[in-house]
């Protein structure tokens, strides 16, 4: 509270790169910063630096749909993201920064009987693992979100929904800043505008990191670079089974509160929520093609607008204010690739697709534990890169809607 009367620095100004750090974290987004923070806070590992090629939170952390939820399909996923939501719930208090986590409830709409089955499956898995989630019908949907068009008029009428009360939205930049402040306070050096250009390797390990500002020797490396994961891993001589796609989103002009819950429709490829500022935040699914080109497409705007109006006809005359794209690192089974790799001291947090932001705190906790102790926590063992060699995938890919 007193911070509002006396301005206080969030973090130290960027200093010189030291010659060596025990841990070099590549990527100054929510995952990298959280990992650095928990390394220092839980394990006393404070000789840590963050190398960020732009400003902190400039990548996926600042471009996602800000949705937090845990209603995943696989037991492994539901447990992992469930713990993440629980961490998020207390994170504002822990970090002393209001992240504005608003657990307004999350509805995934079903427009076909096949989609309903997939949701039933998710709900059942979730319930067994203590994640609050259930399938509800049109009447209950209408009670939760009377603004939604639950009539038979739309091309794909709403048949039901997976309701996840703890799901909600959060102020994404605040998560980045709060972790950055807390990590900085514990002595972590944050180096924005410091781009990794290569790695020096010896004996199957990374010995030093080369950057546009010079060379840093390292004990261990963590890459938390989302859309750039394959490029950074490639510099370390590692191939990841990841493709990079763009995801597009837009906001409308600010409007008075209209929508409380978060609405997702995979049939219509849209996510709709309303921010605390009053903007509708509407995003699409990942584009099917791979690219790093961030200019986005007009057809995205057209299709998303059409489908948003199918759900909320009242939005017809709301105005699109700004549109942008983010990069998504997609793994073959839609589960993350997290932890050790075949390069001995090179750890990754990657393969997140659209789920990365939801996992930031738990990634921080588990990766920090792995880096500090050398032991992979059970929670993330199923997400090891090795699963693509042993062919033990963790499929978050919902069953395709097929019927004879």
């Amino acid at each position: 509270m007193k911070d509002i009367f006396v301005p206080r620095r969030m973090w130290r100004p960027r200093g010189e790169l030291k010659r060596r750090y025990d841990v070099v974290v590549v990527g100054g987004g929510s995952h990298g910063l959280a990992t650095a923070y928990y390394l220092a806070q839980r394990h006393g590992v404070k000789d840590v630096c963050i190398l960020e090629k732009s400003y902190i939170g400039s990548g996926a952390s600042g471009r996602n749909t800000t949705i937090i939820r845990a209603n995943y399909r696989t037991p492994e996923g539901a447990e992992f993201y469930g713990q993440s939501v629980r961490l998020y719930e207390k994170l504002s208090q822990k970090l002393g920064f209001n992240l504005m986590f608003s657990q307004r409830g999350h509805l995934t709409l079903a427009h076909s009987d096949r989609a309903l089955v997939t949701m039933q499956e998710r709900a059942e898995v979730n319930k067994l693992l203590g994640v609050n989630s259930s399938v509800i019908g049109p009447a209950e949907i209408e009670a939760l979100c009377p603004q939604l068009d639950v009539s038979e008029r739309p091309t794909w009428p709403i048949m039901g929904a997976l309701y996840h009360p703890p799901g909600g939205i959060i102020r994404h930049d605040a998560v980045v800043w709060a972790f950055a402040r807390a990590a900085d306070e514990l002595g972590v050096d944050i180096h924005p505008y410091t781009e990794v250009t290569g790695f020096e390797r010896a004996n199957g390990r990374v010995t030093a990191v080369e950057t546009n500002r010079g060379r840093v020797e390292c004990g261990q490396v963590v890459s938390a670079t989302a859309g750039w994961s394959t490029l950074i891993a490639g510099m370390a001589g590692l191939r990841l089974p990841i493709t990079t796609h763009i995801l597009q989103a837009f906001v409308t002009e600010p409007l008075k509160p209209f929508l409380d819950v978060v609405i997702v429709s995979s049939q219509l490829h849209v996510y709709v929520s309303q921010t605390d500022r009053g903007e509708f935040l509407i995003g699409a699914e990942i584009e099917p093609y791979t690219t790093y080109c961030g200019t986005g497409t007009l057809s995205f705007l057209e299709i998303s607008a059409r489908h948003s109006i199918e759900l909320f006809p009242q939005l017809e005359r709301a105005k699109v204010l700004r549109t942008w794209t983010g990069l998504c690192d997609l793994s073959p089974d839609y589960s993350p690739i997290l932890g050790r790799t075949e390069v001995d001291n090179f750890h990754v947090s990657s393969g997140w697709g659209t789920y990365g932001f939801k996992a930031a705190p738990i990634v921080g906790v588990t990766l920090a534990e792995l880096v500090a102790t050398g032991k992979t926590p059970d929670l993330i063992a199923p997400f090891a890169l090795e699963r693509f060699h042993t062919d033990t995938l963790v499929s978050e890919l919902a069953a395709a809607a097929v019927s004879h």
Binding site: R9, S112, L315, E316
Partner: protein
Amino acid sequence: MRLPAQTGERIDRSTELSFRLGPWDVSGYAGDTIGSALFAGGRRVFSRSFKYHRPRGLLCCAGHCPNCLMTVDGVPNVRVCVEPLREGAVVEPQNVLGKLDFDLLRVVDKVGGPFTPVGFYYRTMIRPRRMWPLYEKFLRNVAGLGKLDEHAGHTRRYDVEHKKARVLVVGGGRAGRAAALEAASQGPGVVLVDESDRLLRSELAGVEVLAPARALGIWEGNLVPVDCGTVLYRFRAERVVVATGTIEQPLVFPGNDLVGTMFPRAVRRLIRDFSLQPGQRAVVLATDERGLEAADDLGEAGVAVERVVDLRESPLRRIEAQARAGRVRGVLLDDDVVECDLLVASGGRQPAYSLLAQAGGLVEFDPDLGVLVPTEHPPGVEAVGSVTGEGLEKVDPLPSYHGRGKCFVCVCEDVTTKDVKRAITEGFDSIELAKRYTTVTMGPCQGKLCQLPSVRLYAQERRVYETDIGSTTARPPWAPVELGLLAGRHLEPTRRTSLHFRHEETGARMMWAGPWRRPYAYSDYPEQEVRAVHESLGVIDVSTLGKLLVEGPEAAALLERLYPNRFGDMKPGRIRYGVLTTDGGRIMDDGTVARLSDDLYYVTTTSTGSDAVTAWFEWWNAVWGYDADIVNVTGALAALNLAGPRAREALERLTEDDVSAEALKYLDAREVEVVGVPCLTLRIGFVGELGYELHFPSPAGEHVWDRLVAEGAVPFGLEPQRVLRLEKGHVIVGQDTDSESNLLSAGMSWLPKLDKDDFVGKSAVELFAEREERELLVGFRMEENVVPPEGAQVVIEGYPAGRVTSARRSDEVGAIIGLAWVPSDRAEDGTRFEIRVERQLRGARVTHGAFFDPAGERMRS
């Protein structure tokens, strides 16, 4: 109060239009904007600001700033300064608690200042945790601008039209018009887009003029959507010429947002276009010629011009607007107070470069001009006129003038210089970080009025050159655009079989099945349709099945390599079941493959799989280069499955061909002419009874269907079909299998032929053969009379260990049966396991083999 009639005014004094502002009747003239009519009626406060709820009045009169946002005819956030007045319009203020002139929330401005610095919400309302929802509710209600009409929607017709242009000129100013005329002299295909409706079309011979209209952005391939209100023109232009000119920028001094501060061009518009007197007593602070022009305009309009200061010649240290009830009552200039009710000020003109930057052009700060200018344009795009910086003179006002009171860098978001300075002190020192923290450039103007002032301020505060600050990324659209316009018409592609209307006429309940509409059942009693198939005769429309012809001397080789099982050794006229696997060995799709002749195969796929399978076949064929063509004939053919003990007898009555059990054996494929229609007839049994799939030209769909029904075949829908196939334990790919399922785990280990040289996914299937599967797909019977929902979990020690993929009540079997994935150590025939149904665990037993007619005698009969 209007000025006397003058030449060039845009109002038509002979046509009065009446409209409403809240409860009041007001009027204006044709040619007015809603803003000018309200101003003429004496209204000065148009809106309340985003955060502090300060009164705001007309500032730019160009549709850029947020000051005149009002709700018009239920549509929120309309910029009334440019919205044409129309008879009967209903205008309402927004973001107000109380009245426009007396907003109860102005308390935030009066006393809230110290408690609500930039980012205050990040530092407060943290504890207790459970209070946040209440705080949030309050914050949300205070924030936001206009209100959506809860009952609105689908009120307007929006269309999309695709157009071409050789040269598309954006902006109808002097440079834009010249560029358009120049281009038109070289040939047709020149289009000029302008936001105003005051262009003289007669001066633009040979140019197609779209106005008022707005180019929203320049996308790849020079795709330029143009907003014309209810029609979106999607232009493809060979060349785009951007002539968007400049935007007047605010001068940053305390009180620079007060009602009564205006930009020079706003003054000119009010006087010349609408014959309005912008104030009684004016002070003009000029940084360029436009300011001085405004002073002349004011003089001519009879306004007392109290003071004109040309800041280029006589710089000031201190400027401070003084207020009474939120309106300008005077201004302190250094040490002098000058009384006035109109303060005309601008911080120069910023090139309107957004379109260029959004399309990938470069923008840099030009120290010689003191503004941001586009320096490198995207391919195929040019810029002309003042948007390039051409003709601009150096403006160099102070980034912010000293004085008391709030000094706004961004009027949209109520961000003050103090906020920006504080953000920098706190460590948000790059412009992108500060943007996200202070929200400068994120409001309705999208940086049009705040990018330059904030760059100047960052440079001053960080003691660096403006050239080192950069600018925030420009993002489309150029100006806010209605979702409805982008959406266009709402009809969506829907696939219907040639029997669609027959089904509807028969009373079928239609449902979505992938991209298709299909009958769920023809009554509320699908079990009756099941019984008809078992006891007599049924017919189902399976036209949605994917159907491919694969033809060529190497067709057999292609299929051999695509499928894990064998097709090269089939005799013409025979059918075999096939499952496609991905390169990872997962089940991708299934169907039947009939060999029609040595080099011609007929392949069916699942209903949703036809496009993907066609692409898959074509992809691999392109890789391997076989002499074979793949033709998707899904839509060409209707397909009906005639099934039931009476099927042969019925078919015999409808054809003269020999369809006896000897002539047409199980898994035979023959051409049979049925009721005058040539049918590729496949004798297969997905539903477990004697059955024939008739594939024939889709235009004959209704004819064949009608004759089969007349012969006593009972139409059955998808739901009865699902029951029937479940009784046989037949798997539905995509329902009983998912993206991880493989042939071995799904109980089809007999299918892959590992002795083949190669097939897609072979190495993965070999790996599966060596290891034990984690889970297996098995049939089960419930111990109790409970139907588990599909998706229900198999539970072991409280943990999800498997799942039900199909479950139905079967009258024929006399039990509740289903398919489920269970751990491989629980997959033995007869093993008991538990399924969670409505919070209770219910017992079930693994059942190997089909539930009904396990030997398959009925379908082979």
